[in-house]
Every structure is written in C-alpha cells, then in structure tokens.
Amino acid sequence: MELLEKLTILADAAKYDAACTSSGAKRGHRDGMIGCTSSSVVGCCHTFSADGRCVTLLKVLLSNDCSYECKYCVNRRSNDTPRATFEPRELAELTIGFYRRNYIEGLFLSSAVLASPDRTTELMIAALRILREDYRFNGYIHAKAIPGTSPELVTQLGLLADRLSVNIELPSEAALRSLAPNKTKRAILAPMQQIRDEVIESKAELVKYRSAPRFAPAGQATQLIVGASGESDRHILNLTESLYARYRLKRVFYSAYVPVVENTLLPSLDTKPPLLREHRLYQADWLLRFYGFRADELLDENQPNFDPRLDPKCCWALRHPEFFPVEVNRADYEALLRVPGMGVISARRILVARRTGPLHTDDLRKLGVVMKRAQYFLTCCGQAAVPLRLSYAGVLSSLLAVERESLNPAQGEQLSLFA
C-alpha cells in the first residue's frame, strides 16, 4: 500500500485521541542529532485543524488492525474499514521529513492491538528506536502504552519517548466491562503505576548521575471519553483529581464522545458530541491545577453536574457570596485567583502594580482583568467596581449574558438545549 494511503487511514484512525501537547521535555541541540524539544512552557502549535484543535505532532496509529472489540471504537475488530500498518522505517522517515520542514514538533504514536499488547509494543519500540538511533531524532515523542503490556516493554518504551500515556477512556469500571471488555481496570492501572514509579526513579538517578538514562522526562498523561457512558461530571472530576494525586499525571485529557457506531449500549448515532460539557470539564481541570480549587468545592451531591450556562468559577462565586467582594489592593494571591474574570497572569500583574500605588477600576482593565465578569466581585480602595449594586438575580443574569456572548457557535448550540 502506498505511503499516502497508509497515512490517510492511520491519521484518520488516530484523530479521536485528544492529547496534543509538546511541552515538558527540555532538550537543546545535541551534537550529531536532528532537532530539539520545545523550550516554551506551552509547547508549539504548528497548525490548527478545521475543528479548531491544535496540531503539534504527527499523530498516527502504527496500525489500525485491531484484535479487540471495544464497542465505541471505529477500529474495533468487527468493523468493516480499510486496515493498514506502517513499516517502522517508513514511519521514522516520514517523521524526520515533516520535522525538518517545521510541520511538526515530533511524533505521537499510538496503535490498535495487533495480535497482542506485547507484539504491538515491540513494533512501536522498533519504530522509535529507528527514529532515535538511525535518524538521530532529538525532538518530542509521545507514545501510548497499550494496557496489558509487560513491564519490561513499558520500560523500553519510556526510555525512547518523552511522554507516555495509558488511556483510561471510560470513567468507571462498569462502563469498561460493558463497552471495552478486552481492557480491564487492572490492565490499565498497572502500567500507569509502573510509569509513575519509573519516572520518579529516573529523576532521582539524574540527580546523582548526569548521564543516567531518562525515562519519560515529560511525565505521564491520560484520556477520558466524555459522554459515552452515563457518569456525572462530579464522578469524572473526582476521578481526575485522584489521578493527578495518585499517578502524578501531567495532564488529563477529555474527549467528547463522537458517535461512530450504532449500539444499544451507546448514545445514538445522531447525538451531537458534548462539546460544551467537555469545555466545562477543561475549565474545571484548570481550576484544580492552577487556581487552588478542590473537586468537592466545584461539584457535590447537590450539584453533580456543571451548569452549562456558566463557567465553574462563576458558579462557585455565586454560591459563596460570603467570600466577596475581594479588595484588589489588599487581598492575597489565592483570594484574587478566586475572582471570576481574574486569571493567573492578571493576578500576578496586580501584585506587582499595587506596590507603588492603589489600583482603580481602569487600571484593572489595562492589566488584563475581564471586568465584565470581575466587576461584581471586586472593590478598589473600598469602592465597588460596579456602578450599581445588583441583587443575586441581577448578577446571575448579567453573567449569563456575558457567557452566552463568549461561547462559540458549536458550544452555544448545546446551550440552547438547556435554555
């Protein structure tokens, strides 16, 4: 099969994997090797696809000839779809050709399960070895570890890749059992545990020996599918929080379920992907990681799902009027972060700017605070930032209006289901 055809099939099969980052490994130029990793904290976006998602790596499956039967997956064994497999060498050559032309930062390699997890991983290792050793590639590699792979092979994979992921896919064991019977919870969590331990061990070794081998220097990530099974947002968020804590993940990705298959256990084929729900989950994920929130502050038994009309931070602020208003010239950093419309960068700028003199509402706007949201929750030198004091209902309806404006059409459509 020609390379162009293989690329079409295997890129198409890999596109539902949401992971898209290229940051976390800091490798400058090395003599005799091609390329380096991105020095920026946010990685490098080489292009954006027609669905608006960032493309930074050559994201492909090594093979889509799967022997598993996961009911939601387009590559499942029983599906009648063209199958292809890359030769390890042709994949490596393609990666280098794209990298030199600055199309990509590196390679994202996943695979369907060819015969067995170990066999598949051996082929992946072969491709990565050719890329690293024969083609002397020094850029970014993100490899997916297949659940059920032997520990020795996971170790070899980690020594070649910058980041490793094991996709959890379904947020509960019950869902796994009914929708992906070949993948057990144990088979998924065991490699995650191993990767966590080996990353820690590798970092400790590096402190002692500078040339110690690096195992997955950019850490570990995972992915959850949103909307394929019936779990609540609270369930997903609690799972996210415990994954970050227990497995020291760098990122948890959410992928809105896109129906590609007709099955009584899955949402119907004409269900639209829950993009708004995915968006709220990402916002909540950011709140957990950068804004000091806990999962149980955002959602609890009384509110197990996000209000789709408002972002999670506004919801929290409206439920906790006792915390506000926050005095911009005196509040500490953690309190500033809790104000809707206040980001990490604006808060840091406020801390610098208020050292020489008091800040007023106009200054805040120039410092990047989104006053349309923040004005109801702030005071500057004791004066409320909003001209007229509003009741709870008034604040709520103003925030709803601001939010409706800011949603893009695809998300806004989903909002109309709840109006």
Binding site: M1, T8, K15, P273, T356
Partner: protein, 268 residues
C-alpha cells in the same frame, strides 16, 4: 527654560534611537517626531539628522541599566514592533523613567508604559505563532521559508531556528520588511533583500507537501468543525505561506475521494 521643538531623523537602528535620546538631553531639544530615513514631509519644525555614535548610545544604555536591568531588553523589543510612532513612544517612556526613577516600572497601567508592554506582547505572540507556522521547503538540501509578519520578528526567530536546525543550512525571507535571515554552519546573518521568489520545488518536496496536506485534511473531526475557532487561533494572514493551504500545480485526489473508493482490506 523651554526646550526647542525639533524633528529627529535617524538611521533606524536601536543604537541610533539611543543617540536621539542622547541628543535631546544634551542639546535640550524636545523631539516632536522621530523619523527614519528620508522623509519628504514638509514640517514646521527643524529636522536634524542624528548620526549613530557608539559612545553616545552606550552612555544612554548605561543610564538605563542603572535604573533597572530590564529596561533595555524591553525597549529593544519594542523597537522591533509595528507600534505606530514607536520611537516617540520609547522616547516619552524614557523621559518619564528618568523623571520618576525605578518605581515607575511597577506602574504597569501608566499611559506611557502600558502601550509599550502591549506592543511587546503583540510581538511576542507573533514570534510564538510563527515558530509553529513557518514552513520550510527543501531546495536541494537548503531549507527555505517565507513570512509576512507585522513586526520585525527575524532577530527573535534567529536563536530558535539556529538551535532547531543546527546542522542544516536555511533561510527565512521577510516580505514585509524586505530582509532575510541566513544561517549555515553555526553562523547567522540578517541581510536586507529587496525581493525574493522561490525556486520551483523538486519531486521529493512535492511528495512531502502532498503528504502533509493529506494529513492536515484528514485529522479534523467533522462533527467538531469550527472555522471561527480555527481563525481565532490561526489568523488568516498567516495562511498564505502555510503548505496546508497552498495548491501546487498538480491535481491530487482529496481525502474524501480516497475514502469514498472501495478499498480492498489489505495489511502491510
């Protein structure tokens, strides 16, 4: 004693701008405009041509460094931006900085400071975007790319690509500012170049472009299509130099056409 109003004409370099500042303070002149190169605009004020002198620039640089180490790097960056009347904006900032000293640097929202910060931020954003959007073509072993940025980004892209393409030879041509970044064997230069036209690509180059375009067309999830979001992240003015939006002469079957065909289920 009121300072004389004049117009300065300088050579466009950052050191030249520092010399303008030097002249202003030594001659007690107030520049109402600082222009670059020949300007046949008729004006009420006297125009003085400022010659760039290393010693003068160094003195101003030292005085700024004494106030803070961060000032000169910021001003260098602002000088690369496309801020209208940036020279005058920089001059006004420096004047205010001299008057008020280091505490002025924390007043991020001040009217003479904030526009500089915003312009520098705009420059940084463009550099970040271009790091990803620049597309090289392989011309017989030499990599070449073209860009049309708003700001003068080549000095800031130099380090990044020198490291990424360390053992390659490459050039990047800036259509807006008519200059080119040339790199080979560890050395780089930015030279003025009036015009540039790319040579026709070879067969291997065409093949890689086709592969990239196919990849780009394939990875979008149709149910999530969102042109507005794509343009938000990737403004249309960058598209003309990006391979995925270009069409090379030959007609190539699209991804839709291939998948519509009845393909035999073959492996390897």
């Amino acid at each position: 004693m009121k300072w004389r109003d004049v117009i300065y004409q300088y050579d466009g370099s950052f050191d030249g701008l520092l010399c303008c500042i030097f002249e202003s303070y030594t001659q007690k002149e107030n520049p109402t405009a600082i222009v670059c190169g020949e300007d046949s605009e008729w004006s009420l004020f006297e125009t003085r041509v400022i010659v760039t002198e290393g010693a003068h620039a160094e003195r101003v640089g030292r005085s700024l460094r004494k106030i803070s180490r961060d000032v000169l790097p910021l001003l260098r960056r602002v000088h690369l931006t496309c801020l209208p009347d940036k020279e005058l904006a920089i001059y006004r900032f420096v004047a205010k900085l001299y008057r008020e000293g280091a505490p002025y640097l924390t007043r991020l929202s001040d009217d003479a400071y904030q526009p500089l910060l915003r312009a520098a931020h705009h420059l940084s954003s463009e550099v970040e975007l271009l790091r990803g959007f620049i597309r090289f073509s392989d011309y017989g072993g030499v990599l070449g790319a073209e860009i049309s940025p708003k700001n003068r980004v080549l000095p800031l892209l130099r380090g990044h690509f020198a490291e990424r393409c360390h053992d390659e030879a490459f050039f990047i041509y800036d259509h807006t500012h008519h200059e080119a970044l040339l790199y080979a064997a560890g050395r780089s230069h930015i030279v003025p170049l009036d015009d540039f036209e790319a040579a026709p690509p070879g067969a291997e180059e065409l093949a890689y472009r086709q592969l990239w375009r196919r990849f780009y067309d394939t990875i979008a999830i149709r149910e999530r299509e969102n042109p507005k979001l794509r343009i938000n992240h990737m403004p249309k003015r960058y598209w003309k130099h990006m391979t995925e939006f270009q069409i090379d002469g030959s007609t190539l079957p699209s991804a839709q056409q291939i998948s519509a065909q009845n393909m035999p289920s073959s492996t390897v």
